[in-house]
Amino acid sequence: MRMLSDIPIAFLMIAAVTLVSAVCAMSLRNLVHCGLCLVLTFVGLAATYLHLSAEFVGFAQVLVYVGAVAILIVFTILLTRNAEVTLSPVSQSSLVGLGIAIAVCGSLVLPLVTSPSLRRLPAQSLAPDAQVQRIGEKLMAQYVIPLEALALVLTAAMIGAVVIAMRDDPERNDPSPSPQNQKDTGSVSNSPAGTALNSSSSTSSSQRP
């Protein structure tokens, strides 16, 4: 018989909030709601990491996902002005998608529930030594090549994002720009939205030095 104290209440609460908000993030009609539910999901995951005594990763999750990725997504939703989209009618392909997802879910969860080997695992040992110094030493010694590669990827992503999101110059192929064109580009370079667009799209990539 299980005792009441065996049930990990804190974990179950965090997991429930995270899962419900994840479902909301994927199913709500209004995209802004979806973005904000995604924020809640990320916060819940960060709490789970803290619960697993991975402090550094937990706060990195808050900093990168909640502070940059999610805000970027909300930003994009607001800028593309499609906050209220109508839900397209359930089509055959989306039903197939749901079927695939349920099949994947079943094939992942069933072995976990039925497997006898996981129950034999020891319960959590003492909190491992994940001091920031140790993480830094590992990063700078054992993992220095992946670190450098990641730095390259981030730089490339930042430049790529700026280049992709930059507005195509309408005057480039047109030797005699119309006044309207000039006005258009002028307002682009000064308007808050235009500047915000370029800067924000490159933000999350350079979040981590």
């Binding site: 706060f59 909640v66 805000i71 920031v132 808050p192 500047t195 915000a196 800067s199 350079s206 030095p209």
Partner: protein
């Protein structure tokens, strides 16, 4: 007070933590109220006016000399302001998105207060097991940056919820500005932690406890400058108050707000100022250590003097924030972005490289 000694250590810890939380909250709230008063008095002084000098409850008039003097200083003005905010009609325009409209002020206010949790505001009060910091986190600075980045949501939500043009523009501007300057801020701090070798803010203070010549402001002046300017941008203060610039955007993201909800935004802004000042004091001005340096206190009186030192340094930065607001004009938006992305981030990177090089050279 003897019964505390016989309590279980966990209970003791929880009791002390609760007391510290309540005290820090009370001091921060009072600080916000009186920062507004100082702001009004300093602006009046700079513009050759008198400032608030009338508000007073009726019994003050019966006090000789002291009463009129306090009234003239405007000591009672914050209470009148607070009362006014509470008693005003809490008006919700019909076209706003209600839930977000109500949540946004709270979201913008809470993170600003949460950053105060990891700031060591004093050494001890005689008992070495009870440091004067609410949560002595090993990843203190990461916590601060994570929480500060949550503050953006309040402003974006306020802009979105208001469902009208000016707040929306203000919200978008503000989020881009805050994300951009967060990067510059984070990178300027990296060099500080290269020097100290720890992310724990108590260790940063301990490193600087040798006296004024040990303070990191002298070892990392460039990092301090970048952090200071970024702090102005992060708290949406002049010269970077684009999100709420009255002359272009009416009031930016809080155009549609009134009464207590507006007061929460106001409170959030000043609490963010207090948080940023506390961070600068801790990182660059030696935290609670006196000018001549000092070890953690061994008696109650010394401990209290350390808290006073911390508050004095904090007050210095608050006055600086206010003074700058009334001395400098507002930046243009592209200038702001230019400064952040093309000046500060490269400068901070160069600073990191130079610092790392110097450490590598001198370490051997």
């Amino acid at each position: 007070m003897d019964f505390i000694r016989y309590l279980d250590p966990t209970v003791q810890f929880m009791l002390f933590s609760a007391v510290k939380i309540v005290l820090v909250f009370a001091v921060a709230m009072t600080g916000v109220a009186y920062a507004v008063l100082v702001e009004r008095k300093v602006s009046a002084w700079i513009q050759d006016r008198v400032g608030p000098n009338r508000a007073a409850p009726f019994f003050v008039h019966y006090l000789p000399v002291v009463g009129p003097f306090l009234t003239k200083l405007g000591i009672f003005q914050p209470m009148a302001d607070g009362l006014k905010f509470i008693l005003k009609e809490d008006f919700t325009p019909s076209y706003v998105r209600k839930i977000y409209f109500w949540i946004a002020p709270a979201i913008s206010c809470v993170p600003a207060l949460m950053t105060l949790a990891v700031i060591p505001f004093g050494s001890t009060l005689g008992n070495a097991n009870n440091p004067m910091v609410i949560a002595d986190l090993n990843v203190g600075i990461l916590y601060t940056f994570g929480i500060v980045s949550l503050g953006v949501y309040g402003i974006v939500l306020a802009g979105y919820a208001s469902n009208s043009k000016y707040p929306f523009l203000g919200g978008i501007r503000s989020s881009a500005q805050m994300i951009s300057y967060e990067i510059a801020m984070g990178m300027s701090v990296v060099s500080v932690f290269l020097v100290v070798g720890d992310l724990n803010l108590s260790k940063v203070v301990a490193y600087q406890s040798g006296g004024i010549h040990e303070w990191l402001i002298f070892k990392q002046p460039l990092a301090f400058f970048i952090f200071l300017v970024s702090a102005f941008a992060e708290t949406n203060r002049l010269p970077f108050d684009l999100p709420e610039s009255e002359t272009e955007l009416v009031g930016g993201y809080h155009t549609e707000y009134s009464s207590m909800k507006f007061a929460l935004f106001f409170l959030g802004e000043y609490a963010a100022m207090i948080g940023a000042s506390a961070m600068m004091v801790t990182l660059f001005l030696g935290g609670w250590t006196p000018i001549w340096g000092g070890a953690p206190a061994s008696s109650l009186l010394v401990g209290l003097s350390h808290i006073v030192w911390f508050l004095a340094k904090l007050g210095f930065f608050m006055v600086l924030f206010i003074w700058v607001r009334w001395m400098l004009p507002r930046f243009r938006y592209d200038q702001l972005m230019n400064l952040g992305w093309r000046r500060f981030i490269p400068l901070a990177l160069v600073n990191i490289i130079i610092t790392a090089g110097l450490i590598a050279l001198t370490h051997k």
